[in-house]
């Protein structure tokens, strides 16, 4: 059975300064959330099947009583890993919610990811103020800087203690949140009162119980634009092939979302579906038929697809991610070689837009999401909750970090979204 219980640092002795209603007049009113309020795993029900006990998550939001005294709170925020549209929005909203809503005076920005929590390798934190964050949401990147990988856990906790930091907001992906969990455990071991709250950052949209991570929509928008370029190139040359490598280390959500938005893609290749090149129902022959019939093709491939076909770089990066071979380059060469062998001249145009997609500023949808993730993280931390990330599953939820990092969110080849992709591209559901 999945345990969705959130750890608390202790009794909430302070009254929240937010001044909301305890029991809102109407259900849809915004008010303090009681600990008995839960969010259901499933929003569906089959009235012909007997009810089963269902998974319930803790509802995120402001609590009437809080653990920390705002006047004595010192908060820190750290951004880790690869860039993602919306990081500056999150930094800004965490600061504004702490500062304006709760009256916390001291909020620090940790420089360059977890490096900034290790004095041996990192820079000193900067103290944030309202002027500094005023316009940052209009730019991509992170004003705090980022880096990959964790630092020694005891060193980071020492840093928090030495700097009297009461709460740490860790914005990052899988590896970052595993680090946050280890910090939480070390904090507990030492009997400290430091809240650790994660804000999930995954441009790939692949963290469990995070249905829509911030930055994803913006990335799909940008990827859509690149696919339009690939389509233009492909159509402009005889037997033109536009091949675009998109993000997606383990999950093909960006490739799928951009495909559905673009409607110009003929083949979407994702990690969840084994890539089979050879054979009549393999990718290469299918592509050949398309080229012979229509004289052009657009292919979107997620970076993590087809890794079994590659010699494999082996090893892991500083974040602990498996280092992938380059499926884009591999596929480009395979396709070119195949058509050469088939004596069909093709015009191959390969695009690898990764840094262009992830470094832009957030669109409206993502701006809204960032604001929500940030505020809910602050509410959780002020209430003394720790070892959690903010999830989004039929509503914002407080989610134990291990549930989020235990496994990834994958696209279901038999599910609804992949069906939409297939409907748009006309490709087979599976290869071979």
């Amino acid at each position: 059975m999945v345990d969705t219980t959130i750890s608390n640092l202790g009794e909430c002795k302070y009254k929240s300064p937010l001044g909301l209603n305890v029991k809102p007049a109407k259900e849809e009113d915004f008010g303090f959330v009681s600990e008995s309020e839960k969010v259901r795993f499933s929003h569906e029900v089959d009235i012909d099947r007997p009810a089963v006990s269902e998974l319930l998550f803790e509802k995120a939001g402001p609590r009437e009583n809080i653990f920390f005294d705002p006047a004595k709170t010192r908060a820190a925020i750290v951004t880790c890993g690869g860039l993602c549209p919306g990081l500056n929005n999150v930094i800004r909203s965490v600061f504004l919610c702490l500062h304006h809503a709760y009256g916390v005076q001291e909020v620090f920005g940790i420089r360059y990811g977890y490096q900034g929590l290790n004095p041996a390798v990192g820079e000193a934190p900067i103290r944030l103020d309202a002027d500094m964050v005023d316009r940052i949401h209009q730019a991509g990147g992170t004003i705090l800087g980022s880096s990959r990988g964790n630092q020694p856990i005891p060193v980071m906790v020492d840093f928090l203690v030495k700097n009297n930091i009461n709460m740490l907001f860790a914005v990052g992906g899988d590896g970052t949140q595993r680090g946050a969990q280890q910090i939480t455990e070390e904090v507990k071991r030492r009997g400290l009162s430091i809240a650790v709250v994660g804000i999930p950052k995954t441009i790939d949209n692949d963290i469990m119980y995070v249905k829509r991570s911030f930055g994803y929509t913006t990335a799909a928008d940008m990827a859509h634009e690149v696919l339009t370029c690939a389509h233009t190139e492909a159509k402009s040359y005889p037997n033109g092939i536009g091949l675009v490598k998109l993000m997606g280390r383990d999950s093909g959500f960006i490739a799928a979302g951009a495909t559905i938005a673009s409607q110009d893609v003929n083949f979407t290749i994702i990690p969840e579906i084994p890539l089979i090149l050879e054979g009549e129902k393999g990718f290469l022959e299918t592509l050949k038929r398309r080229i012979l019939n229509r004289k052009h093709a657009v292919i979107a491939v997620a970076e993590g697809a087809g890794q079994d076909l590659l010699a494999g770089a082996g090893g892991k990066d500083a974040s602990g991610n498996v280092l992938h071979g380059d499926i884009g380059i591999f596929l480009r060469e395979k396709i070119v070689a195949y058509f050469k062998e088939q004596k069909i001249p093709v015009n191959m145009k390969y695009i690898d837009p990764s840094y262009i997609i992830r470094s832009v500023h957030a669109n409206s949808e993502d701006s809204f999401l960032c604001d929500q993730y940030a505020r809910n993280a602050v509410h959780a931390a002020m209430a003394g909750k720790t070892g959690l990330i903010i999830g989004l599953w039929n509503g914002f939820i407080n989610l134990p970090i291990p549930l989020a990092t235990g496994k990834r969110q994958y696209m279901n080849p038999d599910g609804f979204q992949w069906n939409c992709v297939i409907s748009s591209t006309g490709q087979p559901i599976r290869w071979g």
Copy 2:
């Protein structure tokens, strides 16, 4: 008690050609939807409160057995009312789902809204084909044309009968769907087998049980850009005031969404919250304090706000919407007069961007939504369901039209989204 039952034209005697699983192996797989599958009104639960009987909606999606024989089906699609980003995407996906997924050969586009169903005033329909719809999703507007208002119901039903149309997809707002309901009833009265399925179109996001209508996100993105211009103007002049009139006849969702995305707005004025100009806690004095303190201000006003303050144009437009007085012009003049009286020189910059916002093409998020609304509408119609629109409430649902048109969706001044607006602007929750 709310009745969520959907009407059916009759027994589903045909096997769906979609070839999906009847009972998917895993719950999250995509498969035929059984009539016992429901979507819950609420995704939340309070474990300390006794369970109450809850509102359940019919789940949208493809059915195993269908009412219409695809080979004999003639479908028509009509787009009505004001432009909204994504109309062409909807037209395209309705056609593609009918054509490719179900094998329907004859799909017609009705010209210029309901006018095209009245031979006395309208043009003949056009027959859609794959080439015609190929690239239309890349342009704003509607290739079919649109118009406001209904035509005589019997005339429109006569037209459908005369042209052997079996199913009508009506893309439009409140008035359009009320028309669709009347057509449904007339069809029933005559004992005909014509399915009428509505696809909700509301850039204002104000249709009940339609949590996110297509076009809304794109509109908020565009509105965000305009607000940035207003902010630039306001900051560049002494006591600069940037006033932007945004869409929102009855509901302030666009104004609210753009405010949250922009974070540059100081006052958001929406129909749901009475506008009080005078008095110490009125809008004008609050604005004055802002100007004296900060020397510039940005105001976003929804078109339907403050109507009680206007003489009122009275009457209704062809869609049956109450004709609003122009709150933008009114507010501009009130503000200028007030500051003149106060002997404070201000620089007023007024922007009314309506047509610029609604005529652009859909962004990625909206492209995805359009595709879903369209496909679910086709699935419903093929199954012989009628008198419904596709809703989106914790998932896509089949919704009886009267439930959707009975009342509008409003922003709750005590709810969560308005709280976000207040947090961003710093304005009071209510005036006066």
Copy 3:
């Protein structure tokens, strides 16, 4: 005869720190400009016609010897009038050229236009530094603020004297430059050594001997986007008419440029060509024929067009510009009334995008222009030149202010660019 001689404050006793070649090895090399180098008025010649004495302008650029000692120079920059894309680029490049190239330590930004030169009404100037201007070119507007109108000349000169300002860069249009000329004359009268250099700012592109003013291309780009929206609206409704009011107080360059870029406009109405509404060859009947034939029309009207048809607001604004009646509103009402009278129902969509167009940041072309105008202005001022603006006529030139403000640049109805408009719209060259 036109006098193109530029006034000088006196002998250039200092050696320029720019370290360029005096007489460049090759003609196309960049080097110090000698006073004998001129730019021709005409780049054309008819070999069958006898040569006539031709108009020559002083070539802009860095001089080997300069009048001001950089170590003792205090410069000020002021931005006046309406916003224009590129103002921040100009501010930035003036600062960087003074600071990095010449080593000037003190550069001040005057707040809110000429108001900032009058202590009775304005704010104190701000001292610019490298950090402050670092990213400003990425935003529209002006970080210094702007205002309309001049202040009393003696007061402004007093301010310069009191603050030991040696050189003033005035970025603005016709009225601003006339003010700059009066300051120059007052400075001369008092025997002071203050250089006054104008940088022409005219989104309308209507200053004489300024073939391409900064901001114009960006504005045409934005106007093009708005025209696309108008076209979408017009095409989407029966007898749809999209009417867009564009900038152009006296000259139709933006309307013409956007028309040529868009290729969607059917009627371009500019101040240079009298608007005749009535009669068979008048605008209204021509529009009617278009609507009857093609069922939609797009109209771009420059704000200064057809003023003789308006009652006329009379009076002038603070910049001395004649206050125009609103031709957009006028035309909208005339068209609606005309078609009502003709019993032809039309769908009129009116767009007035002015503030959206002028407040965006500069595109690449304009960024380059801004940089050039700014650097050449600094070179002129350091050499002690005064009472000039930087022109662009077959190359950058130093132009006596009275030549620039003596008359405006108009579009020639018999010239080349208007011919391009006519070729695109298909409208008659003249009305009536």
Copy 4:
């Protein structure tokens, strides 16, 4: 001495249908151009130096008398080589000018570059009409398709003869225009009356006497956006290095233009300036000093830079261009290896955006240029001029093809534009 004389097919016996004035009333009026009208090479003059005989070009534009009878004219247009923003605008304007202005009924589009002139390898041409070209300027690419390389000259001339083509418009770069010149010569050898007119297409802006080729400004705009992404990436990581490879086989104009627009680049590396990596004044040590001082750097490198450092792929592509080694990849590896050796950890982000830049649609400035190049090409061809391209040098000119293809246009390291780059980046003028 440079010969600027343009070849003619013969006597111009037909009256132009354009109905312009022969000798315009005012010099600036648009009218028929007489053969005695010339455009000067230099728009500058030094009044202290004796006048030298100067280079004069033939002025482009419509002629009063034309060689071809519009009623009997069959024209063809071909687009060759790499994509460039504006190709569809050129196709459209050539068609519209031929069709509407001259009344030519038959205009053909050759498919996929010169391949379409060789029946053995190419597809049949398509006949263009007004509907087909109506909206094409809103999309990137070329609706005709393109390919690299020439086809056998006699075969292409045979094709023109067989299809009764009287005039060929060849849109392409250096290699394409050399092919056009060979076609011209073969046509002359056979005594045929076929006009061959080139329209210069070079996103690199490197064709002689073509000061601003269409597509360049759009490409610089897009490159500017990519540089902003590189800057965001570089700033977000400790010792972040953003390296962007831009177009520019032989000339660094795009890299330079984008650098000036962006103002975020620290090192611009172009083919015209030898790249020296090693040594105190070499690139690597200079970069190291920057990284140690500022902790991030942005580098823009033109694809043709530093070729002497590469092993060199050798050989030529189908267009006859020397195949370059990949300087982007080379530099990335060199930099990474250097800093590893120096034991300075850096974060390298490499972006190669080529296809994203060249496949977008033209901005307003380029739309205008496309229209002008196209119309002037049509005017030249109708007048029976042949073996020319349209140049732009102080105005549009008719330029003998050999003058344009004889040598390339390079950026002058001692010239003005490079000085602007240096001023922006702060890098040394030359390496080593």
